[in-house]
């Protein structure tokens, strides 16, 4: 059982990790022009350092780091809490964000002497807002504060989709906005019901009081539905492919790699931190089943796409499905739930890095070739070897081949499925892997064929290297030491307790 704690040492780092991107937003907006880019790039290393410092503090203490804002205890005040999972997420967010920012400079950099432009200001403000929103999501321990975080994330993510201003991008952004606002309202209604029933919105206080009664089920159903829409779980994925494929590559990397994980993270918080007392095994199975449908449906649609960016976007729909297997595989306090939990976290990380790398590569490919039609990729691998190396390495992780983070995630999922006697989940895991191999094959085979690829613009080795670095992280996650799995258990409720 989680307990409320007073401020722990290093607690103030949590506030700073949220406030730093907010300072960046305000300054970038007020000063504008070239300053927006400089502020974002200048603050980014500080945010990374904060994330690493928080992770170190959690690891050293062996328990969560907490901070009561204003010195006020919940339920009146808001508390922040970094556990093993949030610290891990914070570091991953920082690394991918910095990569995306460096990659984006070629497109949204403001050259000396030129004035402020619409797309540049929007990008540098919104990308910092995504960072701040994600920091709030992983650190806050208050359901209403988390609603504000979701709003920050939504209002940052939607403009990123239509930054290029094409009509189809505007349509995609509008559709995304409608789905996201539907999700926000559902979530907020659920929070209001929790407050009405228990007089608190603090995750830990709620987890000590909730019991299986109608108001709790309705609140949980509303919040889950809202978060599923924001996470784009099949069949609520309708907004994702057009939104993620119309955004500029740097934004797609952030949206597909990180933003959908934000609302998924809140689903983990809801079911594993607020509501473990419900022991809702049926709900866990339903979420797992929806995830399985997403794996198969998303993969099938990815196999049918003619454009590379759309294929990668549908692959996100499928990979999100894998995330939901964590619910049946890590629920409860069994020996095997530890394995399922590790699998879920590894899937979040491996997909985040691999997918960011893929979208960046797809962006470079489209810039160099002038199109991203899969049927016309003949010989492209010869012309853009680094880009295709990155696509190949990322695919290794998505398919789940060793050694890669994707392999470890799927291997642990299979282990948890076997250990828990829930054999049924191994079917979507394995079939999804084969289908992922299918769509990876569709990208790589034509590219390796003979043919003359005409480059409209020479390859950009610096940006290719950034994407490759992220892909190598996805690969390197395959060598994660055992101590990592102990780290992500820090602060997780009902860990390894006796079976109920």
């Amino acid at each position: 059982m989680m307990e409320l704690a007073a401020n722990t040492p290093a607690g103030s780092l949590l506030v700073l990790a949220i406030l730093l991107p907010v300072v960046g937003i305000l300054l970038a907006f007020a000063l504008g022009g070239r300053s927006a880019e400089r502020i974002a790039l200048g603050l980014a290393p500080l945010s990374l350092a904060l994330a690493v410092a928080i992770a170190t503090a959690v690891a050293r203490a062996g328990k969560p780091v907490t901070y009561m804002i204003g010195g006020l205890q919940p339920p009146l005040g808001i508390s922040l809490r970094a556990d093993g999972l949030s610290a891990t997420m914070l570091v991953a967010v920082a690394v991918i964000m910095i990569a995306a920012m460096l990659y984006a400079r070629a497109k949204f950099g403001v050259p000396e002497g030129s004035g402020e432009s619409r797309s540049a200001l929007t990008f540098w403000v919104m990308v910092q807002a995504v960072w701040g929103g994600l920091a709030m999501i992983v650190l806050s321990s208050d359901l209403f504060n988390l609603y504000v975080a979701l709003e920050v994330l939504t209002f940052a993510a939607v403009p990123l989709v239509c930054i290029e201003g094409r009509p189809e991008a505007l349509v995609a952004a509008l559709r995304y906005l409608i789905f996201a606002l539907f999700g926000s309202i559902c979530y907020l209604l659920g929070v209001a019901l929790f407050y009405g029933a228990y007089g608190t919105m603090d995750i830990i206080l709620l987890s000590q009081q909730v019991e299986a009664k109608p108001v709790v089920w309705v609140a949980a159903a509303l919040m889950t539905t809202g978060l599923l829409a924001k996470t784009a779980l099949f069949p609520l994925h309708l907004w994702l492919p057009s939104a993620h494929s119309n955004a500029p590559a740097a934004a797609s990397a952030v949206l597909s790699g990180l933003v959908v994980k934000g609302s998924f993270f809140l689903l983990l918080r809801l079911w594993f931190y607020v509501l473990p007392a419900l022991q809702a095994e049926d709900v866990m199975r339903i979420l797992g089943a929806l995830g399985s449908v997403a794996i198969l449906g998303g993969s099938a649609l990815a196999l049918m796409q003619a454009r590379l960016k759309l294929l990668i976007a549908y692959s996100t729909v499928a990979q999100i499905g894998y995330l939901f297997l964590v619910f049946p595989l890590a629920a409860g306090a069994h020996e095997w739930s530890h394995i399922g939990w590790g699998a879920g976290v590894m899937q979040i990380l491996a997909h985040a890095f691999a997918k960011a790398a893929m979208f960046m590569s797809a962006g470079l490919l489209a810039e160099s070739l002038g199109h991203d039609q899969i049927a016309r990729l003949n010989g492209a691998a010869r012309a853009l070897p680094l880009t295709f190396l990155t696509l190949a390495i990322s695919s290794v992780s998505l398919v789940g081949l060793p050694p890669s983070g994707g392999f470890v995630a799927k291997w642990l999922m299979l282990q948890a499925a076997v250990a828990s006697g829930q054999w049924i989940w191994s079917a979507p895991i394995l079939i999804g892997g084969l289908m992922a191999a299918g769509y990876a094959y569709r990208i790589l085979t034509p590219a390796l064929r003979h043919g003359e690829a005409l480059l409209k613009r020479p390859a950009q080795p610096r940006r290719e290297a950034i994407a490759l670095a992220l892909a190598l992280v996805a690969l390197g996650l395959g060598f994660t030491p055992e101590s990592f799995y102990d780290f992500i258990e820090i602060g997780r409720p009902l860990t390894m307790g006796p079976s109920p």
Binding site: S12, G71, L72, A129, A197
Partner: protein, 317 residues
């Protein structure tokens, strides 16, 4: 005989009736007008629920700002009506949405009726703390917004800025830096001109009053700011003022001033009062009023900018 219950039931029926009309109204304009009326009736409901602060906000935002926003959006849609082919949703889809809505409303009603009669609430605690060492404010709502949950309040103002940037970001590249299109026709009617000359001084005074009394009575920066925003919009509709260019330095500073001052004082709290977003007890009330002054400014500027829309090319309305 007590007529109060009958009045309450009629009010509830009216709210539902107006809501239904908003959905089934044939043309956009009637739907918007009904929606504004819905906001006003809802504000009266909040008054009946003894929540005057919420009532003020609902009237200002639900009835006022959203109404103007929808009217302006509707006007823009009229201009581009030839480009937009409205597709009517199929009967099956409408039925599905209706069924989902009924299910949702039904289950919400059922569980809300099942809640304990004396609902667990932090209001007494907040009120007690507001009298004592808490924040030195008589209005517990303001104490909650500015002290207990100041972190949320500050971040919500950041969301408001993101919304403004988001609106600006859908404009045309060539227009970036210019002013949004003017609100009204070049030659406004005499009635509008008269209204725009007489209303803002009074409305402005009331807005500042609502903000100022917010420390101890219902009201506060948001409600006051919304009223000031409305006054500026009335002036802009009569073309006594036009929207400022979006790259204007003072505009941007005014927009960020609320959250920026809030954040700076929140961080200073770590040094002065030992915690982020804590106030030194002797200075709590003046500090809160200081922050709220800038929040008033941010809100009064942000809401009209949301209505004004993105920067417009010269000659485009």
């Amino acid at each position: 005989m007590n007529v109060q219950p009958f009045l309450d039931i009629s009010l509830a029926a009216l709210v539902i009736g107006v809501a239904l009309f908003t959905i089934i109204a044939k043309d956009e304009f009637s739907a918007v007008v009904a929606y504004v009326a819905y906001g006003i009736f809802l504000a009266i409901v909040w008054v009946r629920l003894y929540a005057p602060d919420v009532a003020l906000t609902e009237a200002a935002v639900g009835g006022g700002v959203t109404g103007v926003l929808l009217v302006m959006a509707g006007k823009r849609l009229d201009v581009s009506a030839t480009m937009v082919v409205a597709k009517k949703p199929s009967v099956a889809f409408s039925a599905f949405v209706a069924a989902c809505s009924i299910l949702l409303a039904g289950s919400l009603a059922a569980v809300i009726l099942s809640l304990p009669d004396a609902a667990p609430s932090l209001a007494p605690q907040a009120a007690a703390a507001a009298q004592g060492p808490g924040a030195g404010l008589g209005n517990p709502i303001t104490a909650v917004l500015m002290s207990y949950r100041s972190f949320d309040t500050m971040l919500e103002k950041v969301v408001l800025i993101l919304a403004v940037v988001g609106v600006w970001s859908v404009g045309a590249d060539e227009a970036w830096g210019a002013a949004p299109a003017p609100f009204g026709p070049a030659t406004p009617s005499d009635a509008l001109l008269f209204l725009a000359k007489t209303l803002p001084p009074i409305g402005g005074l009331i807005g500042v009053h609502i903000f100022w009394t917010g420390a101890d009575e219902p009201g506060g920066a948001f409600q006051g700011g919304a009223l000031l925003a409305a006054m500026w919009m009335v002036a802009m509709m009569a073309r006594l003022a036009d929207p400022p260019p979006i790259n204007s330095r003072w505009l941007r500073l005014a927009l960020i001033s609320g959250p920026a001052v809030f954040l700076a004082i929140g961080v200073a709290g770590a040094m002065l009062a030992g915690h982020f977003f804590a106030y030194p007890s002797a200075l709590a009330k003046p500090l809160i009023l200081f922050i709220e002054t800038f929040m008033l400014l941010s809100i009064a500027v942000a809401l009209p900018m949301l209505v004004a829309g993105p920067a417009a090319r010269k000659g485009v309305r």
